[in-house]
């Protein structure tokens, strides 16, 4: 088996470790979200939700726990969407030509870069979970050890598939563009609607119908669902809304994410096959 993609991965991880400011900001940013936005919002929201009618026998979840899943999802989205940008650096100041002129199949460039993006996303998700538990996020509460392991693996699976989807998209877009400004512009344009039309920070049940349509086609919604299912449970109450997930619903979410990633992979694959850099 040709393992050249591991070489591309190896090199990208060297850069990740060596580029201290980037490493630092990547790791610290999600924690800052939790610490400031999370605690700030929950100290307000939890006051209101006291007045909500709590159906009997259902576990009530505070806002910090509710949004922690959203922060994992958001961080994965940002990291993945901007993960392809290293390709632009390679194209303009780096070794893209060396890679394109080598006998290594071009898909290996894509896989190498994507795996390194997934690694970063998983490291971040782990950190958020650990930090979250420290500041009072009620993830895995009342779970047995076996169930915690399954939950962590489940979250990792969702994060990986979702992350790959956006890394492929990002790599494809980046390979087609020439300027840093262009890439950043497009990525920023994408993040805002994706993030705020999802269920990451608030329930989407009371959205107006047009916004609900967007949230239904938004992959982020499915990632958040998966994370909440594994981290909190299949039946809980948060922000005045009753959440209950069936296994089928979660499987469907996973399949939606797989389809999304497959589509973006084809897009990236076509782009890489045709790529010309001179």
């Amino acid at each position: 088996m040709n393992t050249a993609f591991l070489t591309v991965y190896w090199r990208d991880m060297i850069r990740f470790r060596r580029f201290r400011p980037m490493l630092f900001s990547t790791l610290i940013q999600p924690i800052l979200w939790m610490a400031f936005f999370g605690i700030g919002m929950s100290s307000n929201f939890d006051k209101f939700s006291q007045f909500a009618m709590l159906p009997p026998g259902i576990r009530s979840v505070d806002y910090l726990t509710f949004m922690a899943a959203g922060v994992i999802a958001m961080t994965t989205l940002f990291t993945s969407l901007f993960g392809g940008i290293s390709l632009l650096f390679d194209k303009r100041w780096g070794i893209m030509k060396e890679m394109l002129a080598s006998p290594m199949p071009r898909t290996h460039i894509l896989w190498g870069i994507s795996l390194s993006g997934v690694t970063k996303a998983l490291i971040q998700a782990t950190l958020i979970m650990i930090f979250g538990l420290l500041i009072g996020v009620e993830f895995f509460s009342g779970f047995t050890l076996a169930r915690i392991i399954i939950a962590v693996l489940g979250i990792a699976l969702f994060v990986t598939i979702f992350s790959l989807g956006f890394l492929f998209l990002s790599a494809g877009i980046t390979m087609r563009l020439e300027s840093m400004e262009g890439v950043q512009g497009i990525m920023t344009l994408l993040t805002m609607p994706l993030f705020f039309s999802s269920n990451a920070l608030y329930p989407i049940e009371s959205f107006p119908s047009w916004l609900r349509v967007i949230s239904v086609v938004n992959p982020l919604t499915y990632l958040v669902k998966g994370i909440r299912y594994f981290a909190i449970g299949n039946d809980f109450f948060a922000m005045g809304t009753h959440y209950s997930y069936s296994l089928q619903e979660i499987l469907t979410s996973l399949i939606v994410l797989i389809i999304f990633s497959a589509i973006t992979y084809v897009f990236a694959w076509v782009t890489f096959r045709k790529a010309v850099v001179t």
């Binding site: 090199r11 070794i95 893209m96 060396e98 890679m99 002129a101």
Partner: protein, 329 residues
């Protein structure tokens, strides 16, 4: 008969409406140093980019090391090493990591790879810099690193696209020595350059290329002899009369107008002929503004066949090239 390692038939390449390479045919022989000499924008890099599979083959037929460029891209890629015109290095990797990365993406087994890295470090005289980040090396060291990287996989042909662009003269001489050494060890070298001295000193054979066409090919001697053993440039207001006078001598092979005045090519010893010519011109009333005698250089060859100077941009061009490289870092 010499064995051709690169065979190019009717190669054509255009960018939209602009025809960069207009149907060129040439061979490169195994073991030689072959140069493309021409000004910026002549089509040199386009040709190299097509031959190294970075650009698609639009029209024509190309065999590299016996492999068809259209159908056996992978085989071609395995047969060649490339040093690109602009710097293609990751400044944040160390020297060792740069070579290790290259060996791995070319699928070299670990043992062979490690051995070759040692050899390459020695060849490039970078043993002491092995754990240094590439961005802290000097320009000459980086170029040597790129050349040895190109050689690491023992390619049959090494492509060098403007290998000394923007380097200072001393570094340039070291790179030339290095290229010769590599060639002596058996690697065929295909070089592009717009520096006349570079083509002249290094190459076994040269093709002069301009506006996407090969103007003339041969050894440096053959090219120079093709325009005469000696050259006289004559500046005068009365060039018609001057032409007439010069043409009447049997020592004169050819007279034509050029941007440096009348170009008189000789088939005799110019030092003996020059006094005769001056006297004859005086007698016929041709007013001589300046006259010079010289051995032809590749510059003169280029001027003779294209009517233009090879050093078109001159120093300004060079500054631009250096500025460009700086910005990339």
């Amino acid at each position: 008969m010499k064995d051709a390692i690169i065979e190019v038939y009717g190669l054509f390449h255009s960018y939209g409406d602009f025809e960069a390479v207009k149907g060129i045919t040439f061979n490169v022989y195994r073991g030689e140093i072959f140069s493309f000499l021409g000004p910026n924008g002549a089509g040199k890099s386009t040709t190299i980019n097509v031959l190294t599979t970075l650009l698609p083959l639009q029209k024509g037929r190309v065999l590299v090391n016996g492999y068809d460029l259209r159908r056996e891209k992978r085989k071609v890629r395995e047969s060649i090493g490339i040093v690109f015109q602009d710097e293609v290095l990751d400044g944040d990797l160390t020297v060792w990591e740069t070579l290790e990365f290259h060996g791995r993406i070319y699928g070299m087994p670990k043992k062979e790879r490690r051995e070759r890295i040692e050899e390459m470090l020695k060849l490039a005289e970078l043993e002491k810099k092995v754990n240094e980040r590439v961005k802290y090396l000097s320009g000459g060291m980086r170029r040597r690193l790129e050349i040895s990287r190109g050689l690491m996989t023992r390619p049959d042909v090494l492509f060098l696209d403007e290998p000394t662009l923007g380097l200072d003269p001393q570094t340039r001489y070291r790179i030339w020595e290095y290229i010769r050494k590599v060639n002596k060890e058996g690697t065929t070298i295909f070089l592009t350059t717009h520096y006349m001295e570079e083509a002249d000193l290094l190459s076994d054979r040269i093709s002069i290329i301009d506006h996407g066409r090969i103007i003339i090919s041969g050894t440096s001697e053959e090219l120079k002899n093709s325009i005469g053993s000696d050259l006289i440039y004559l500046e005068t207001k009365n060039s018609e009369k001057g032409k007439e006078v010069a043409s009447s001598f049997k020592e004169v092979k050819n007279v034509k107008d050029s941007s440096r005045g009348l170009e008189i090519s000789l088939q005799a010893d110019g030092r003996r002929f020059l006094p005769k010519l001056i006297i004859a011109l005086e007698k016929s009333g041709v007013d001589i503004e300046s006259i010079s005698l010289k051995k032809p250089t590749l510059d003169d060859v280029f001027l003779h066949y294209t009517g233009r100077e090879l050093r078109d941009g001159g120093p300004e061009d060079r500054i631009k090239a250096i500025a460009m490289k700086r910005r990339r870092r």
